[in-house]
């Protein structure tokens, strides 16, 4: 059982974008995929998922369509749009910059400054 990481507000959006970019998914699938990829470290609050999905759709970063699931049930699938892909790239880049900057600071040893 790995440790759970705290999800900072705002990062859920970019994580959803990334998950969906790997292939179209329904809401529950996004949950599962996130858990999967993060190795169980990231577990999304049920209450936050759908508002985030709707918000992203409202902003035009993902789009939805109804389809049939693996066991023949109707489900709403989400897919990244071109704008979403762009935003994902921007956010990922800025996150990585932030992460490396923080890591750099945190790894400073006394005497190096």
């Amino acid at each position: 059982m790995t440790d759970r990481a705290e999800l900072l507000p705002g990062t859920l959006d970019v994580l959803i974008l990334k998950t969906v970019s790997l292939g179209k998914l329904h809401g529950y699938g996004v949950l599962l995929r996130l858990e999967q990829i993060s190795g169980g470290a990231l577990q999304v609050q049920q209450g936050a998922l759908y508002p985030a999905l709707y918000r992203l759709e409202h902003q035009g970063l993902i789009e939805s369509e109804w389809g049939t699931s693996a066991n023949n049930r109707r489900a709403k699938y989400y897919r990244l749009t071109a704008a979403g892909r762009r935003r994902l790239g921007e956010e990922a880049a800025s996150w990585n910059r932030l992460a490396s900057a923080v890591a750099l600071v945190l790894s400073a040893r006394p005497g190096e400054v």
Binding site: G27, G47, Y50, P51, Y54, H58, Q59, G60, A83
Partner: protein
């Protein structure tokens, strides 16, 4: 980018709300079921798994709510909740709601009607494609010392224009006149024809269906192409919508023409009266022989700006090239000394408007706005009273955290709901009243365009999207405004006070003179506005009475009139005289006819004038223009015009005998002041080619002045000559009947047909009807304004009553105390009445001041209002005072019934 996609997404959700909700439901259900499946895989029973999954997921409603919010639906959701709440609270006080809705309906309805009239005149575009580039071309004559006069063209001038101008991409001449129609289902009929250039219909973008438009060669050689295009209504009514009409033959003025097409429905030509169209080239045969060669200025000319040309450029070319081309073919119409002739053009959209009608319409709109203001003030008062009565409820809401904005929004939503309901009813009211307005006086409200252009105004008010949009916007805005104002007043501090029971003192209701409340202000405002409206109506009414009481100079009772027009080429000039004589003989033989006459014009329609030359009085400058009447010998007897000196015309005054004339008093006074005009000799000029300028006419009699122009205009000098000596073939026949004149009409028609079976009579009206028509515009305005004033009076009365009743209700404690301390019922009544009277007097004072300004505005706008008689102002003030006091009386009486024990015990 974000905003656009957000807007699109919101729109999509709004459009399919139920689908959105259902989809969320589906999506959440799927999620829960999948989770349950996964839980089952870990060993739970299906039931357990489902329960757990549901618990984990949480409240579906909460998810849905956040889902709605995420899609931007929050404001709409809140609005929906507010609206439901407002509707419920309105439903709890039905009396108030009905009153409020009716008030708004009144204000919105009346203003929508006024707006529809204005919109038809100012906003609605002409019904032709690309109407912005259509222009009316005209000549301009400027005489020294007077305004430039626009005039039409002669046909040779039009042809010169057509070949010279380059800024106008198409020119068409048109002229309208009545013709006799034979053929088709009905008998012979009199119809209105427009004689047009071949390009006329295509210039206006009108395509006949069935059939075709005129082709250019059909307008070239006179008489070569006898073709005609029928109007849609004529085809339906007179020809039974015969599908084989194209190719059929009809007779106009006994000339055979072939129908080549039917105009689309709704098109009546630029004069808006045309029943059919034929090429100008046929005019010499069907209508006037010299239509195409005469130098008289018959023809209106319409054109289209060439692509890329502006109005200024075209106007500049008209002033130079156009004027020169016109001057080159001027013919016999020579400019007299000092006159300057030029040419100009007007966009069609401008030419069709009439400035005087616009002013009348603006007055109407102003009055309507006043009524709306009154309704709003009244409504505000009602809402205010209601708000104060519900002050506790509002205080509770505020205590629970509703900020100022929420309270204002609540007021606006409540008002908005009232507005929607009121607006719906108001729109119906507007529909009905617009139709009534138009029926009353189509010319004045639809606008009567300048006659020189023979152009219709195309301004008949109708209910279109503009008017509907106006009504909706106005009702929402008015309702919201009325709702917000009381809410603005209620500052949070007041609410604290209101929560405590038994608010007291003179700050309730209408307050006192020293500390008036908003409520008293609304009462004062209503009285003032009502006074202004009543004054306006009174002024107009007075002016109208003055108009009607003007002596017409003849006796209109028992006289019926109709027009006839023998086919021109056959009966031209003096050839018509024997025909008219036979017609008069036949008519006088009809039982019930006392006497009959002919005349070109009837009273109230001035239609004929000629220059007058007096022997021995050459003098510089233009000869005077006098009214001219071509009448039968019994004319003065038929109309009851008194003969003052000399003799009337007799049947002996006919062709071959010395020419004689009878003049009216104004003529005698103007041209032979202080002397006897009988025996003097004059000549007439101009006029249609058969009043030869070298025949002397002797004055043989003087009759009283008769009103031929608009009531209120000064009299013209009028000259009556015998139709047997100076003849126009088309004329009006006037018949004095022994009994009811309209009962004779069928017999009269038969009598005329006996003389000539192809001679229809038309424009049949009694003299009384003509008199009423002459003042129809004024009457409509007076009626409209009086209705508004009556409404205003009603509103003011209701408003004062409501406010005083509310005041009494609010100040029950105070009244109870007074009664307990020994005040008599009469004293209490006086107390309340004094409150009401103070308000009324204050309102009257303000209203009187405003009315002074109004009187000035009205006099400027409507010329015939004139000075106020002494009775208008006192009568109006007195009326308002009486109504207001009466409105206070009932609440005063109920005040005396207050039981002091009851009110004192409540506290």
């Amino acid at each position: 980018m974000g905003l656009l996609s957000r807007g699109r997404s919101l729109w999509r959700v709004l459009r399919r709300r139920t689908d959105f909700e259902w989809e969320m439901e589906e999506e959440f259900r799927f999620h829960v079921e999948r989770r349950a499946e996964d839980l089952e895989a870990t060993g739970l029973t299906p039931l357990e798994a489902l329960r757990r999954a549901r618990l984990e997921f949480g409240s579906k409603e909460r998810h849905k709510a956040s889902g709605r919010e995420a899609r931007g639906l929050r404001p709409f959701e809140e609005l929906r909740i507010e609206a439901r709440y407002a509707a419920r609270s309105l439903g709890r006080s039905p009396g108030f709601t009905v009153a409020a809705v009716l008030l708004l309906a009144l204000g919105v309805g009346v203003n929508s009607a006024a707006f529809s009239v204005l919109s038809a005149n100012l906003l609605r575009p002409l019904p032709f494609p690309d109407a912005g580039s259509l222009v009316v071309v005209h000549q301009v004559r400027t005489s020294p010392g007077s305004d430039p006069v626009p005039l039409r063209w002669s046909y040779p001038q039009f042809e010169a224009l057509r070949s010279e101008l380059s800024t106008l991409g198409g020119l068409a001449a048109y002229y309208a006149d009545d013709v006799n129609l034979a053929g088709g289902a009905g008998g012979p009929a009199r119809v209105r024809a427009e004689m047009v250039s071949a390009s006329y219909l295509s210039l206006l973008g009108v395509r006949p269906a069935p059939g075709r438009s005129f082709a250019p060669p059909e307008d070239s050689v006179p008489g070569a192409h006898p073709v005609v295009i029928l109007g849609h209504d004529l085809w339906l009514g007179h020809f039974g919508a015969d599908p084989g009409i194209v190719g059929a033959g009809i007779e106009l003025n006994e000339v055979m023409l072939t129908v080549i097409g039917v105009a689309p429905p709704g098109f009546r030509g630029l004069t808006s009266e045309a029943d059919l169209w034929f090429p100008q080239a046929m005019a010499p045969e069907v209508s006037f022989p010299d239509q195409l060669t005469s130098s008289q200025l018959f023809h209106s000319v319409v054109g289209r700006l060439a692509p890329g040309v502006t109005v200024e450029e075209a106007r500049a070319e008209m002033a130079t090239v156009g004027a020169a081309a016109a001057a080159g073919v001027r013919g016999t119409v020579e400019p007299a000394g000092g006159e300057v002739w030029s040419a100009s053009l007007l966009p069609l959209d401008e030419a069709r408007r009439d400035a005087t009608a616009l002013r009348a319409q603006l007055v109407l709109a102003g009055a309507a706005a006043l009524v709306l203001l009154m309704a709003l003030v009244n409504l505000s008062g009602l809402l205010l009273a209601r708000a104060t009565a519900r002050a506790r409820e509002a205080a509770v809401r505020a205590a629970l955290g509703a900020g100022r904005f929420r309270l204002l929004r609540h007021g606006a939503v409540e008002g908005g709901l009232l507005g929607i309901a009121g607006g719906a009813i108001g729109l119906l009211l507007a529909l009905w009243s617009t139709r009534a307005l138009v029926a009353l006086a189509p010319e004045h409200l639809g606008g009567a365009p300048p006659r020189f252009a023979m152009l219709a105004s195309f301004a008949e008010p109708s209910m279109d999207w503009r008017v509907a949009g106006f009504a909706v916007t106005l009702s929402l805005a008015a309702g919201a405004l009325a709702g917000v104002i009381p809410a603005l007043r209620a500052a949070p501090g007041d609410l604290g006070r209101a929560l405590r029971a038994g608010a007291r003192g003179s700050s309730l209701g209408v307050g006192s003179l020293r500390r008036p409340t908003v409520l008293s202000a609304t009462a004062i405002a209503q009285v003032a506005l009502a006074l202004v409206l009543l004054m306006g109506a009174g002024l107009l009414l007075q002016g109208f009475q003055r108009l009607r009481s003007l002596d017409p100079g003849f006796d209109p009772s028992g006289v019926v009139t109709f027009r006839i027009s023998p086919a021109y080429p056959e009966f031209q000039g003096s050839a018509a005289a024997p025909l008219l004589e036979r017609v008069l003989e036949q008519i006088e033989a009809v039982p019930g006819v006392r006497s009959a006459s002919v005349s070109l014009c009837t009273p109230y329609t001035r239609c004929s004038s000629t220059p007058l030359y007096m022997d021995g009085r050459t003098g510089a400058g233009q000869p005077p223009i006098v009214g001219r009447h071509y009448v039968g010998p019994d004319h003065f007897r038929v109309l009851g015009i008194p003969l003052l000196h000399g003799r009337a015309l007799t049947p002996d005054d006919r062709a071959g005998r010395p020419r004689v004339a009878v003049i009216n008093e104004t003529a005698a006074r103007r041209f032979w002041p202080g002397a006897n005009p009988i025996g003097e000799r004059v000549r007439f000029g101009g006029g249609g080619g058969f009043a030869s300028p070298d025949s002397l006419t002797e004055i043989v009699g003087v009759v009283g002045d008769v009103r031929y122009g608009f009531p209120g205009e000064p009299h013209w000098p009028d000259f009556y000559t015998s139709y047997l000596q100076f003849t126009w073939p088309y004329t009006t026949v006037l018949v004095r009947a022994a009994g009811d004149p309209s009962a004779l009409v069928p017999a009269l028609r038969a009598a005329v047909l006996e003389v000539n079976p192809n001679l229809p009579i038309y424009d049949v009206r009694t003299m009384r009807e003509r008199a009423a028509e002459a003042v129809a515009g004024e009457r409509a305005a007076v009626l409209a304004l009086t209705t508004f004033a009556a409404l205003g009076l009603l509103l003011a009365g209701l408003g004062v009553y409501g406010i005083m009743a509310y005041t009494v209700a609010q100040r029950r404690r105070e009244i109870g105390i007074r009664l307990a301390l020994g005040a008599t019922p009469a004293a209490v009544r006086r107390f309340i009445l004094t409150q009401g009277a103070t308000l009324t007097v204050a309102g009257l004072a303000i209203g009187a001041a405003a009315s002074l300004g109004l009187a000035r505005v009205l006099t400027a706008l409507m010329a015939d209002v004139g000075a106020t008689g002494p009775w208008v102002a006192p009568a109006v003030v007195g009326l308002l005072l009486v109504i207001a006091l009466f409105a206070c009386y009932l609440p005063a009486r109920s005040a005396t019934r207050v039981d002091p024990v009851e009110t004192l015990a409540v506290d």
